[in-house]
Amino acid sequence: MIKPIRFAETADDLLKEMDFYGIEEALVYHFRQRDDSPIVGNKILLREIEGVHRLHGTLAILPPQTGELGSLEDLLELMRVKNIRAFRAFPSEHKYLMTKTALGPLYELMIERNIPLFISVNESCGGISGWYLIEKILSDAPELTLVVTEHGSWGHDRFFRPLIEKYENLYLDISRYELDGGISRFCADYGADRLLFGTGFPQWNPGGPILMLAQADITSKEREMIAAGNLLKMLGRVRL
């Protein structure tokens, strides 16, 4: 709920920002999806990106037991109609547990349909936070495609490398992976297919990950995979 120094008010504003940085397409959520109820925020996002082909939306989730976002079938139908191919979880703000008891049916849907779930490593719930929460999610749903965002800038390799080795559907975004030599060493050890380009705009300056990726000591093919290929492949696998 803290206003960023610089931000995009509308989808058009965001496209102008993306043009400034040379970013062609983006997977996005609206701040209201996090700071407001997902009932309100999801609608705002869908309205804002309607017909904007460069922006791909994500829907904020809630435990299905309250029925606030309709049934799982309703949710799936909405995703089909609006071509939404990813979920986001904000358990800190929306106050729910990321346990199998609370989210089991949603996890099953995501696994069955290959729908990725995005979550910031800064999220917490029920006294669990950070990478401990990520391990909890993955131990409950090992086949889930999970994308962890905003890790760093204090190096997190000691936290995430054991999880990367154990869970093959765990991905990381590089928006704050500032560690010198981090990306190249990660690619050498695990390959480039587990990293996704991200900026964290408007909170973070996109220029950082742009130049870092452009000049990382990796192959052109690996660079292309991180810049776009991996995400396009992930979204292409979704079956709505």
Binding site: R6, W154, D180, A214
Partner: protein
């Protein structure tokens, strides 16, 4: 995309022939809470060369913890005189050693001044144990790189202001630019000619560089990376992709640092 010859050059080559970079905030060696792929002096030089960083001013992680490690930095500078200068770390938790530390510092070559890490040492920059160091630095017009953090009881920008009111010849480098307490940090840098905003970690905050340039001027901003922590390309990218002029970018990336380091080269 934004049109800038500097951006084009860095994106294509990773460095610029006409715009070298000077990194005013480096460390060296392994550290407690983080895995570093590139912690040695040679690793750091490889990174610096890749990014067009012609010189770095560092304080080793070991020296942050143990005052006896300060002298080890002199060996690195002697080995790589064209690449490194260093800050001598003052740990106020060893007050009985401080006079001796100053004496040892005075006999060493390659040091540009001192490093205060007050948030970690849990002792305020305005505390009396630092006084002999500040007086020595004032007499010799040295640089002091301070870790500064917003609202910290040890090194907030308001505490930096108290020192700047008293010491006019020391060059105070606000490491991390008083992270989070931006308005106050910028105000202090604007008000005192000898206070500089240093960008390590701060550069990632979207819009902060434009704000600093507008309010404090690009002549008061220094580039730093905490290397071996952060890839210099990340910080350089943040500077390049800010809505400022190429002249501002050059001031931040090397010109201001060149001016400050001139007496120590």
């Amino acid at each position: 995309m934004i049109s800038s010859d500097l951006i084009k050059e860095f994106l294509e080559k990773g460095r610029s022939d006409s715009c070298p970079v000077i990194d005013m905030h480096q460390h060296m060696g392994p550290f407690q809470g983080i895995y570093f792929p590139n912690p040695s002096p040679e690793d750091m030089i490889r990174t610096m060369d890749r990014c067009g960083v012609k010189m770095g001013v560092f304080c080793s992680h070991a020296a942050l913890i143990d005052p006896e490690e300060n002298v080890e930095m002199a060996k690195i500078i002697k080995r790589y005189p064209d690449k490194f200068r260093a800050y001598w770390c003052i740990n106020p938790n060893y007050p009985e050693r401080i006079e001796r530390e100053i004496s040892r510092f005075s006999k060493m070559e390659g040091f540009v001044g001192f490093k205060f890490l007050s948030d970690y040492h849990k002792y305020p920059i305005t505390g009396s144990r630092y006084r002999p160091v500040l007086e020595y630095a004032e007499d010799h017009e040295l640089l002091i790189l301070m870790h500064t953090w917003g609202k910290s009881p040890y090194d907030s920008p308001a505490l930096v202001e108290k020192l700047a009111e008293k010491y006019h010849r020391i060059k105070f480098l606000m490491g991390h630019s008083g992270y989070g307490e931006w308005e106050k940090s910028i105000q202090v840098a604007r008000k005192y000619q000898n206070v500089y905003l240093e960008l390590t970690a701060a550069y990632a905050v979207n819009g902060i560089i434009e704000w600093m340039v507008k309010e404090a001027g690009s002549e008061k901003i220094l580039f730093g990376t905490d290397l071996p922590w952060f890839d210099p390309h990340y910080g350089i990218g943040c500077v390049l992709f800010s809505r400022i002029t190429d002249e501002d970018r050059r001031n931040i990336l090397y010109r201001n640092a060149e001016r400050l380091l001139q007496p120590f080269l």
